[in-house]
């Protein structure tokens, strides 16, 4: 076992855990200004959208909206079901089935 790798893993764990932990522990102890709270309320939508967009519109790193982008094609029925039903489980099932279908066409 290489010592260097163990050291890297320990370092990685610190720089991963601190950003996860510190804001929750510290900010929950102070009274935040209303404007900042309002700002925080937009974080979920902004985060979800920022994570999703490259995954379905640029899975290889560059923008791709065509038939060769399976993630993009599969997202169309997913969006349809999600907007219509707002049902997480159903959307995930439709997503997996669409992808399975696309992979085997």
């Amino acid at each position: 076992m290489e010592q260097k790798v163990i050291l890297i893993i320990i370092g990685m764990s610190l720089v991963t855990y601190l950003p996860r932990m510190l804001p929750m522990v510290l900010l929950s102890k102070v009274n935040l200004p209303p404007l900042f709270l309002k700002w925080l309320q937009f974080i979920p939508i902004a985060v979800l959208s920022a994570l999703l967009a490259p995954a379905i519109l640029a899975p290889q790193g560059e923008l791709s909206i065509g038939l060769d982008n399976k993630a993009f094609i599969a997202s169309i029925p997913c969006f349809f079901v999600a907007i219509k039903t707002r049902n997480l489980f159903l959307t995930v099932v439709v997503g997996i089935l669409s992808m399975l279908l696309l992979q085997n066409l």
């Binding site: 937009f42 979920p44 939508i45 902004a46 997996i96 992808m99 696309l102």
Partner: protein, 234 residues
């Protein structure tokens, strides 16, 4: 009550688990090919518990990059979690620091998405988060180790498209969160910024910068609307 919430947390983990199994196994296989031992895979997954960071760090280790650069890269990739952690903080004002420290260890992009959607609909309950985070964490650690042990014996576990469960989950949760035009504006802006930044600089800064910009646009739009409303009602 606590037990009920714990069970609800476990049930809500299903989409994340479906995605973590193939991606975790893919990581284990790749890490094994790139020279990490099973013990190192176990150590990394259980201590770091961050998909993108683990893939990138493993590739960097294999190509002999120095420790400081690897750790700094991982730090940049994970800065985005600060925003997620901050946005959860108003719900955890009554929880002890220890509970907060335990819950935040399990904070990933995927668990955050489920967490924040649950909080939209239900009262905050530490048991829910412990249930959800424990199952997702265990799934990740076990999948990566199994992938590492199987190595080249199995074909690419992501070829079935099961990992697409995570994208489908993000689509559903995003739609659940969108309630009005302002929300649509924030989502569209964030997506556009994210694509632009990914195209320009690869994928370590896109989430944090787009989120900050798009949330600021959301607040500005709200203030602007209020101002219009006030001036028109005069």
């Amino acid at each position: 009550m606590a037990y009920d919430n714990f069970v609800i947390g476990i049930k809500k983990s299903v989409p994340v688990v479906l995605g973590y199994i193939p991606i975790g196994m893919a990581f284990g296989i790749l890490a094994n090919q790139q020279g990490l031992s099973i013990f190192e895979i176990l150590l990394m997954s259980s201590m770091v518990y961050a998909g993108a960071s683990q893939f990138i760090a493993t590739a960097m280790i294999a190509s002999g990059v120095n420790a400081a650069s690897i750790i700094f890269t991982v730090f940049l990739i994970n800065l985005r979690h600060m925003l997620m952690s901050a946005s959860l903080s108003p719900y955890f004002r009554k929880a002890s620091s220890l509970i907060q420290a335990i819950i935040s260890f399990g904070l990933t992009d995927e668990t955050y998405a489920v967490d924040i959607t649950h909080l939209k609909e239900s009262a905050p309950s530490a048991s829910f988060f412990v249930g959800l985070h424990t199952v997702c964490y265990a799934t990740w650690v076990i999948s990566t180790v199994v992938g590492g042990m199987l190595g080249n014996m199995i074909p690419d576990p992501t070829r079935w498209g099961m990992d697409y469960a995570l994208s489908a989950m993000f689509i559903a949760l995003l739609c659940i969160h969108i309630n009005d035009k302002r929300d649509v504006l924030v989502a569209v802006c964030s997506a556009a910024f994210s694509l632009l930044i990914t195209a320009m600089s690869g994928g370590s800064w896109n989430v944090i910068i787009s989120t900050i910009l798009a949330a600021t646009i959301g607040v500005s739009a709200e203030l602007w609307n209020k101002k219009l409303f006030l001036s028109s009602s005069e």
